[in-house]
């Protein structure tokens, strides 16, 4: 996915300060502070880390219990400003519900109506454009219930992208896509200047994102570039022919060698860290 970043401004697109959301007494998001600019922003973290809750607040679907939140310089707590945010927002929920009796074209057109695109001809043209851009040109007039899971996911993605919103919030956009479709997602062009996406797939972050946030237990534990995340594990990754009990984490690689994470023993063959190494090290620190 590539964004159109031709216009530059210094204001952050998404700003959060001490953001809290609880379910009962359990905090799902527990004091998140972040300031994200333009480009594609990745949100990583294990299941239950609060990624979806954070995205739903950014998508103005869920109100925070405490803290300050601003998108595109606007405050979602204010009804008028919230509507303004929604005019410039595209949202792909984690498990998007779709009307099975609709065609992809009907559904995207319906979402465009909700986004206040009243010009019918323009709307139809735009609906076709986004459906073509996600590779659904052939099935746009087929009933959604007859489509595969990956196709449904792309219908919802097209619905999020309709009208080229400024801010695109995508909750696991690669969910249900096969490797080929995942690859195509990476080259998808969007007019949106900011894309905030959560993912389980670390390599996706490396391929797509200009910046990355990692969440554990409702808190942001890392903010930086993908290279910086990989850099966390610099000098702490080594490879060996056998398992090493001194490593805090070891796993066997495709070449048959063991890859170890931790304080390398003297004489160890230290290798360049990857994004996975950086993430795993961070996760390990959280656990202990």
């Amino acid at each position: 996915m590539t964004t159109n970043t031709s216009t530059t401004t210094t204001t952050a697109t998404i700003e959060a300060d001490g953001l809290v959301k609880r379910y009962g007494s359990t905090p799902a998001v527990d004091g998140v502070t972040l300031s994200a600019g333009r480009g594609i922003i990745g949100l990583l973290g294990p299941n239950g880390a609060g990624k979806t809750t954070l995205l739903r607040m950014v998508a103005t679907v869920l109100a925070p219990d405490a803290g300050r939140l601003r998108m595109l310089g606007l405050d979602p707590a204010d009804p008028a400003q919230r509507t303004d945010i929604r005019r410039q927002l595209g949202y792909l929920p984690q498990s998007p519900g779709l009307y099975p009796g609709f065609t992809p074209f009907d559904l995207v057109d319906y979402v465009a109506v909700l986004k206040e695109h009243t010009d019918r001809d323009w709307r139809h043209e735009e609906s076709r454009r986004v459906l073509e851009s996600v590779g659904l040109a052939d099935v746009m007039h087929r009933k959604i219930r007859k489509l595969s899971g990956g196709m449904k996911q792309r219908v919802a993605l097209a619905a999020a992208m309709v009208g080229s919103p400024q801010l695109l919030v995508l909750d696991e956009p690669a969910n249900g896509l096969d490797p080929d479709q995942r690859l195509r997602l990476r080259s998808l062009k969007t007019e949106s200047s900011t894309v905030l996406m959560s993912t389980h797939n670390i390599s996706e972050v490396g391929a797509l994102c200009q910046s990355v946030y990692v969440m554990f237990d409702g808190r942001i534990r890392f903010a930086g570039t993908p290279a910086e995340l990989a850099g966390l594990a610099a000098g702490q990754v080594w490879e060996d022919a056998s398992q090493d009990p001194r490593a805090i984490r070891s796993w066997i690689t495709a070449t048959g060698a063991y890859r170890h994470l931790g304080e390398p023993p003297s004489g160890a063959q230290v290798v360049d860290p990857t994004l996975d190494d950086g993430y795993l090290l961070l996760a390990r620190r959280e656990q202990s």
Partner: protein, 287 residues
């Protein structure tokens, strides 16, 4: 003559312009000239065919065919598309389902009862008529009833406008169905004007309370269920006070000015409160 006449023209479109036309980059006036000439000149038509992008042509045909094949909206659609966006906003499967259930509830149950016995039919009608719009409002709000609810919540149309619009549409469907039912029941039982109209304000009041519940943490569907049970219990208890079913006793109470005024006050207060609290409809405090 052997075949269509092809007028010979002394000049032809030059290659550069023809290529630009095929690529769609010629200005409108020049395009019109090229089209006028190509229509009459087989040579240029042939050359244009060589230049044209077959994929682009296929796509153009596809677009044209799909525009022609698309079914026309029909009378209801046309009526609704006075404002195109309103039509699409309410024409979701969830809404169709809600409207159909409300109509079925209102029409089928009392008709069956009325066919068996006039009094029981009237009783059933008294119980159900005000509850149909209540069910409609609850169903209109219920996000679970709207599979794409999460997507629509993040759009500028989300909020009371969408909920209220949907509720009104389904309520109107229920209203019409109730009126039709009353006229059909009239074939078995003689109805007074009071009987035909008395249920209306209580129905509006109950629906407005459910709409108000939409702005709180309460589940509107549960509130609707609770209100429905209370209403049904009151009507059945009131009707069966003696040895035989006497729904007309309850009807008199419902049609009384005191109860009608109370219903009007409740409805007005609930609607005003809902409007004051409209913000919470689209910005949820709970999951």
């Amino acid at each position: 003559m052997t075949g269509p006449r092809t007028p010979r023209t002394p000049w032809h479109v030059d290659d550069q312009i023809l290529a630009a036309y095929a690529a769609g980059t010629t200005p409108p006036v020049l395009s019109a000239s090229v089209e006028a000439h190509v229509l009459g000149c087989a040579d240029c038509r042939q050359r244009l065919g060589d230049d044209a992008d077959p994929q682009g042509l296929d796509e153009a045909w596809e677009r044209l065919a799909s525009a022609i094949d698309r079914p026309s909206p029909g009378i209801l659609g046309r009526l609704g598309s006075v404002h195109g966006s309103i039509r699409s906003t309410i024409a979701t499967p969830a809404m169709v389902l809600a409207a159909l259930s409300a109509v079925a509830l209102v029409v089928l149950a009392p008709l069956t009862a009325a066919a068996v016995t006039g009094d029981a039919g009237l009783l059933a009608l008294l119980v159900i008529a005000p509850l149909a719009p209540v069910a409609a409002v609850a169903l209109a709000y219920r996000v679970q009833a709207d599979p794409a609810g999460e997507i629509s919540l993040a759009t500028p149309a989300a909020g009371l406008r969408l909920v209220a619009l949907r509720a009104v549409v389904v309520s109107v469907a229920a209203l019409v169905a109730t009126m039709v039912t009353l006229l059909l029941v009239d074939l078995w039982v003689d109805l007074t004007a009071a009987m035909v109209l008395a249920w209306f304000l209580p129905g509006v009041a109950l629906s407005a309370v459910v709409l108000l519940a939409c702005t709180t943490r309460l589940d509107p569907l549960r509130v609707a269920g609770a209100l429905g049970l209370v209403w049904a219990a009151a009507v059945v208890t009131g009707s069966t006070a003696g040895r035989r079913v006497r729904p007309e006793v309850v009807l008199d109470i419902i049609a009384s000015p005191a109860l009608q005024t109370a219903a009007l006050v409740i409805a007005t207060a609930a609607v005003l409160l809902t409007v004051a609290r409209r913000d919470t409809v689209s910005y949820r405090r709970t999951a």
